[in-house]
Symmetry: C2
Subunit: 190 residues, 2 copies
DNA sequence: GGTTGAGGTAATCGGATGATTACTAGGGAG
DNA sequence: CTCCCTAGTAATCATCCGATTACCTCAACC
């Protein structure tokens, strides 16, 4: 297989593993097995585990930005309110990609690692700028959108879907993501 | 020193280290040094690193719940709207405790570790119930409050305060936490 | 048919880390 | 004094993991 294709495979596999176990908790060996290659090859392709994680973060952010951009570009004359709904739906669709939002979340919580913190900050700001500039959100709209997104990520991270028997958990999940509640439940059950 | 006092010391130190480095990324040795005791003693006091992390999570959640309760009890006749402001302020004050919210956040993202995920889910639900039942929030109010909290945590986690020279970052931070913007900036600079 | 370079792997190393074991200081009770 | 319990530590172990090294395979090309 061409090295570039293999690289894509490894990034995808790594996104799943990092999303599940976090940056420090993931081993290059687990990623290699998930991608069907040997552990030394993973390390040699990216140099270090940190560089691999940064590649995963970048991939996740690019995907998020391009999905949001697509919504904006396919509704060129839409108001911020209409775009809010469309971009929100695009965000919900990203949930299907198990590791994507969780890998991002793991990056967001690791500001103490210099390279990871820097990448996370710049990525987060890029999303904010897209909402403010290109989608025309007000600062408050952008804030509320991001806040809602972080809550969704958190609920997925703690696997709140496992508690759907509890009426409070069900109410919370359904209030946060009425359309995606069922997906959240399934994601939590692996 | 009495063992119980030493235990408090270790939990406090561990909250700082876990908040900074995460669960897996923190070593019992670093925690021991931060607490001024030997590494084996930390392990023996709590049995395992996981048990120590669970103790830290519990401490953080109890603190959060008791601070929120205090607001409710000191305004027995207040409306949900008034309590919203008071509890929000209480949340902001928790930021001063460096590791507290970040340790919680690290717990929230580690649902894949069974014991940690279970503790995080139950803790999160307890907070939700307090908002809904005792503070009288509507489901939407509780959702928005929690979402806002998760965004604050995220901004602290990625040390967005380091980017306060960037006008977009400044706008975001000041829009999210107008009163605490300066604290967030200082926290980011260690 | 040899050479070469790209795409890999097996074996291994060195350091980090959670946990265990064995030990000790010290102070209060009898 | 001596016993013994509480509060600790030093030394060490076993394991894991990221990284390195040395090697292999096989198609393309001359």
């Amino acid at each position: 297989m061409r090295a570039e294709d293999r690289r894509e495979l490894v990034i995808t596999a790594a996104m799943g593993v990092f999303g599940e176990r976090g940056y420090v908790g993931s081993t290059t060996d687990a990623i290699a097995r998930a991608a069907g290659v040997s552990q030394p090859y993973v390390v040699r392709m990216f140099g270090t585990k940190e560089a691999l994680f940064l590649a995963v973060l970048d991939r996740a952010l690019q995907r998020l930005l391009s999905d949001f951009s697509a919504v904006i570009e396919s509704n060129p004359t839409a108001s911020a309110e209409v775009l809010h709904a469309g971009i929100g739906a695009a965000y919900g669709n990203l949930l299907a990609d198990r590791g994507l939002l969780l890998s991002l979340m793991h990056g967001f919580v690791l500001g103490s690692v210099p390279a990871i913190g820097a990448a996370a900050r710049l990525g987060f700001l890029e999303v904010y700028r897209l909402l403010r500039r290109r989608a025309g959100f007000s600062a408050e709209q952008a804030r509320d959108f991001l806040a809602h997104g972080m809550l969704v990520n958190t609920l997925v991270g703690i696997r709140m879907g496992l508690e759907m028997d509890d009426p409070d958990a069900r109410e919370l999940v359904e209030c946060v993501a009425p359309i995606k509640a069922d997906l959240i439940r399934r994601l939590a059950h692996d």
